[in-house]
């Protein structure tokens, strides 16, 4: 117990020495966000091009169609930036700000859904077709979000978050909102029911996937080698 406090223990030193391969420094959070931005735009556009632009795009106008999706992509990138800050020791943002950003995300999502419905409320689909569309939007949105969550989780794998659930929720909802930004450009149904039964749950599920991924990473990093 009288070990020199300025010298690492032999056990620690041998663990360190076992893996001293050179590593490159990770980017700072703002750079992470800048790198994520094109990925977010490409993801949203890939969803749009694979399904096609919604038929009521002209009724909605460019502001509701493209402007709202641009806001959502920007919000998604912002959430990833906050997650990167949260993941960096000594660079966390104040907790109330982080919680407010998460809450604001949902408010903005609901507001955009309401705005879209107000601009194009008519639906000419049967109830069965609407239910099927709901399942497709919920499952497809979650699946696409899962791919993005995996990409974000890989980007954050080296850091040690004090609150992994919060970090995961941040990049999970970032992924969810980016995917939804593309999905809403393709989905022709604007009803509140469709949002709360399909698009909203897809974002929630992606958020949950982020929480799970961040906790798995945190557990792995705590594991004694």
């Amino acid at each position: 117990m009288t070990q020199d406090q300025t010298q690492p223990s032999a056990a620690l030193l041998s663990r360190i020495s076992a893996d001293l391969r050179p590593v490159t420094a990770s980017p700072v959070p703002s750079r992470v966000a800048l790198r994520v931005a094109p990925v977010a735009v490409v993801t949203a556009l890939a969803i749009l091009f694979s399904i096609g632009l919604r038929r009521d795009a002209t009724t909605l106008g460019p502001l509701v169609t493209w402007g709202a999706s641009l806001v959502m992509v920007t919000l998604g990138v912002l959430l990833v930036w906050i997650a990167a800050r949260e993941n960096t020791p000594a660079h966390r943002l104040p907790t109330p700000w982080v919680n407010s950003a998460l809450a604001a995300t949902w408010l903005i999502l609901i507001a955009i859904a309401g705005w879209t419905f107000a601009a194009s409320p008519k639906v000419f689909w049967s109830d069965v077709a609407l239910s099927r569309a709901g399942i497709v939007c919920a499952a497809g949105g979650t699946l696409a979000g899962a791919v993005l969550v995996a990409a974000f989780a890989t980007a954050f794998r080296d850091a040690l978050a004090a609150r992994p659930s919060l970090t995961g929720a941040l990049y999970g909802s970032g992924a969810g909102i980016v995917v939804n930004a593309g999905w809403r450009l393709a989905c022709p149904i604007s009803t509140p029911w469709h949002f709360f039964a399909a698009h909203g749950p897809a974002v929630a599920a992606t958020t949950l996937l982020g929480v799970v991924a961040a906790n798995v990473i945190a557990k792995r990093s705590r594991r004694v080698e």
């Binding site: 406090q5 700072v28 000594a90 004090a162 990093s221």
Partner: protein
């Protein structure tokens, strides 16, 4: 502080490049104060030594996550705090030890308050502060971090960090005066 951190930055870069000697120098520079910080967080319990080892292990695993844009000391303290928070076992021990706050070996006595009482008196009164106040107070007065740096570590605003440290100082002063009064 700036020159010391520049040295530490250079060492971190060498460490990222694979230098074992750089790691040893970083350890020599940071371990004593990180140990005292961890002892403060776990209320002087012996588990601080385990957490110190874990902090440096995590630093090793996360060495890629360090960017030269960051000051090293706040980053390392933040990492130590994260390790403390993430360690459920340590947290449980912390909870169990929470009532034994008066028995606090090696908790730092900041130079700013040395004149206010004996080291034992100050330790005793420090133990009476809330954990939030005591942490912000010690990070500023003992380890010399700015309120912006403390805010980043604790996840609060710089104003809140300043307020916690100030309230800590005010409460410490009145506790010391009270203690003196009782003894007189």
């Amino acid at each position: 502080m700036g020159e010391k951190d520049d040295e530490l930055r250079a060492l971190m870069l060498a460490y990222q490049g694979g230098s074992r000697e750089a790691f040893q120098e970083i350890y020599a520079a940071l371990a004593p104060e990180l140990r005292r910080y961890l002892r403060h967080l776990v209320m002087g319990a012996d588990v601080a030594d385990d957490l110190l080892q874990e902090t440096f292990l995590q630093m090793h695993r996360s060495r890629r996550a360090y960017n030269p844009a960051y000051a090293v000391r706040p980053w390392a303290f933040g990492l130590a705090r994260n390790v403390f928070l993430m360690n459920q076992r340590a947290t449980r021990r912390f909870m169990a030890l929470h009532d034994a706050r008066a028995d606090l070996p090696e908790i730092a006595v900041p130079a700013d308050v040395e004149r206010l009482g004996s080291a034992d008196e100050i330790r005793q009164c420090l133990a009476g502060l809330t954990s939030e106040q005591a942490e912000a107070f010690l990070l500023h007065h003992e380890w010399g971090f700015t309120f912006d740096e403390i805010a980043g570590m604790l996840g609060v605003t710089a104003v809140a960090a300043r307020a916690r440290a100030s309230r800590g100082m005010a409460d410490l002063r009145s506790a010391l005066i009270g203690l003196r009064g009782v003894r007189a």
